[in-house]
């Protein structure tokens, strides 16, 4: 048996022709037609990717000079590596695809090299209102056949769509007037109207589900209203405010806590009512207000102190820039969440504004900011 193998190898050697063996490489003594390759370190294989990694340092001497010698060295190195990889591939479980005469096909394992994805993995979409309800009630989807037997046409027709069983509902030529309906009413128009309403309702619900899913996907985590151990003063204030408004009459008859400040309704969307001073009230106060108004109108000093207003504006811009930078850095984490929940923490500014409104809203605006 060994003799026969050697004869075959010799014949293969004669057929293949000369091969040059580069000097510095660890190769077995001339068995040039064999399939065995010796390497100092074993190669690592990832057969799912048809990949081989050779940790041996390549022969520096052979690759120094440019030219055909370098190509030969590289080719020999490549030949050895490919031989080892092919040996591994041939060792995989193989079968004949497409019957006995088909090509020999090897089943590859899963690729083991971890490569980054192209896009992030898809997020599971939140269930729609119907899906939630069905899950609650335990309703499962019935399998329906797509073809229905049409008795009139005596053949299998689609359940819905082109040429459906039961004929096209839009071309029904006879509609019965139901028992309690007005005999003058146009039943065809009524059917068309109902269909239009149904379609609109379905579309509306579909868009609402989409919006809900989109909102869930891009949701910012809201501050928790239930007591955790780590809530700031503002968060607790928010929780208290929400709790007050959560009654049936939206907090109108809710007694105030001992030191809870009376809050005016927020300007803008809510709190539409404008407040006016009573017509016949404090005469002394009214007189004082009118005199104050005349005084500011007569004075040479401008009502708006330019420098002070400009300084205030600059300070506000700086604060905004700083908060934006801080926001980028501390987007996650507790600090980031705290900063996100502190909207314009005006402090002095809003306090000053509040005091001026009831007192002298007519004093030419006073320190009013540009809108």
């Amino acid at each position: 048996m060994a003799a026969a193998v050697r004869v075959e190898e010799l014949l293969a050697a004669a057929a293949a022709g000369e091969r040059e063996t580069p000097p510095g490489e660890p190769q077995p003594p001339p068995q040039p037609r064999g399939v065995s390759v010796e390497k100092e370190l074993e190669l690592e294989f990832d057969l799912g990717n048809l990949l081989a990694l050779d940790p041996n340092p390549p022969p520096a001497a052979g690759l120094r000079g440019a030219g055909p010698r370098r190509e030969a060295v590289l080719r020999a190195l490549a030949r050895d590596n490919v031989q080892l990889l092919v040996a591994q591939l041939w060792a995989l479980p193989a079968e004949r695809a497409g019957g006995a005469a088909g090509p020999l096909v090897a089943r590859l394992p899963e690729p083991s090299c971890r490569l980054p994805r192209e896009k992030p993995p898809p997020r599971p979409r939140p269930p729609t209102r119907w899906e939630q309800f069905a899950r609650l009630k335990g309703i499962r989807r019935r399998k329906r056949s797509s073809l229905v037997w049409d008795e009139q046409a005596k053949e299998w027709r689609r359940r819905w769509g082109y040429r459906r069983a039961g004929g096209d509902p839009a071309r029904s030529w006879l509609v019965e007037v139901p028992a309690g309906a007005d005999p003058e009413e146009d039943q065809f128009a009524k059917k068309r109207q109902e269909k239009r309403e149904r379609v609109a309702r379905n579309e509306f619900n579909r868009l609402r589900n989409l919006a809900r899913a989109h909102r869930a996907a891009t949701a910012v985590p809201a501050p928790p209203l239930h007591p955790t151990g780590h809530q700031s003063r503002e968060e607790l204030g928010l929780a208290a405010r929400v709790a007050r408004v959560s009654t049936a009459s939206l907090g109108r008859f809710q007694p105030r806590l001992p030191k809870e400040p009376v809050e005016l309704p927020p300007r803008g969307r809510g709190g539409k009512k404008r407040r006016f001073q009573p017509v016949l009230g404090d005469l002394a106060a009214e007189r004082g207000r009118q005199l104050e108004l005349l005084r500011t109108m007569n004075s040479k000093k401008p009502a708006l102190d330019i420098t002070r207003a400009v300084n205030k504006q600059l300070r506000e811009e700086d604060a905004e820039a700083a908060s934006a930078k801080g926001k980028k850095r501390g987007q996650r984490g507790k600090r980031g969440r705290r900063q996100q929940q502190r909207p314009g923490r005006g402090g002095k500014k809003s306090g000053a504004r509040r005091q001026q409104r009831p007192a002298g809203g007519s004093a030419g605006g006073g320190k009013r900011k540009k809108a």
Binding site: V5, E8, E9, A12, A16, R33, G34, V35, G48, N49, L50, L51, A52, L53, D54, P55, N56, P57, P58, A60, L63, A66, E71, L74, R75, L77, A78, R79, N81, V82, Q83, L85, V86, A87, L89, W90, A94, A97, P103, L104, V105, A106, R107, L108, P111, C113, R114, L115, P116, R117, E118, K119, P120, P121, P122, T218
Partner: protein, 306 residues
Amino acid sequence: MDALERVVKPKTKRAKRFLEKREPKLTENTKNAMLIKGGNANLTVTEVLKDIYAVKKPFAVLYKKKNITRPFEDQTSLEFFSKKSDCSLFLFGSHNKKRPNNLIIGRMFDYHVLDMIELGIENFVSLKDVKNNKCPEGTKPMLIFAGDMFDLNEEYRRLKNLLIDFFRGPTVPSIRLAGLEHVLHFTALDGKIYMRSYRVLLKKSGCKIPRIELEDIGPSLDLVMRRTHLASDDLYKLSLKQPKALKPKKKKNISHDVFGTTYGRIHMQKQDLSKLQTRKMKGLRKRRAEKSAQDGGISPKKAKSA
């Protein structure tokens, strides 16, 4: 903000299929590569791009016009191209006095640049210069990386990962053994990377495994690493994350020992031994005198299958 992007609702089935192909999936599509010329690409660089396109067909897009951008400074135009053509790999070629024959190879994650590595071309032999029979288009190449630099140096490791990603081709469950024709061989030595592309000839040998002979086809490149722009560790980890659904499900209650024997575990309910049917068990019928008060329980054994 995302709210400004128009949500395009598809009006035809074809448009819907187009959008579905581009959305994120559990098992992803094969990555496409876009090959872009810079503002001052010379002949060498153009030839390199054309040859790489020939290797990577049909999963590559070659842009014909020159695009005046600098990827290392401004990545917005690359990201725009990637979004338009749905390509997550790119190869940008340019040439100037400071960086002659420049190639920037990179990849994207979620249409943003993940990694970019700048390579300089020292030596280039084109497909046209080597007059052989070439491999058919779309052959999945074998990839071999030789040299210890690919393991030791962090940048080389990323480059290796990037090159695997670039030249890998589609992931297939099985492969025709006689069709393994193409091999790409990368050697790292002395700060240079030699990329060679060979055609594999399977010759008869004494045993089942064939003897390999290699034939040099193009393209062959000698590359030197210049600048890099690698993703931060956590972004890279985020991009590697695979969804849980792809993990293979482990079969419970099956274990293997070192000898290859498979053990299975069966969980039985608690048996009431007093109610065990012993009349039908012949083995327990020793002697009529000793039939009463015999413990007829069968010792529970682990079921064995070799």
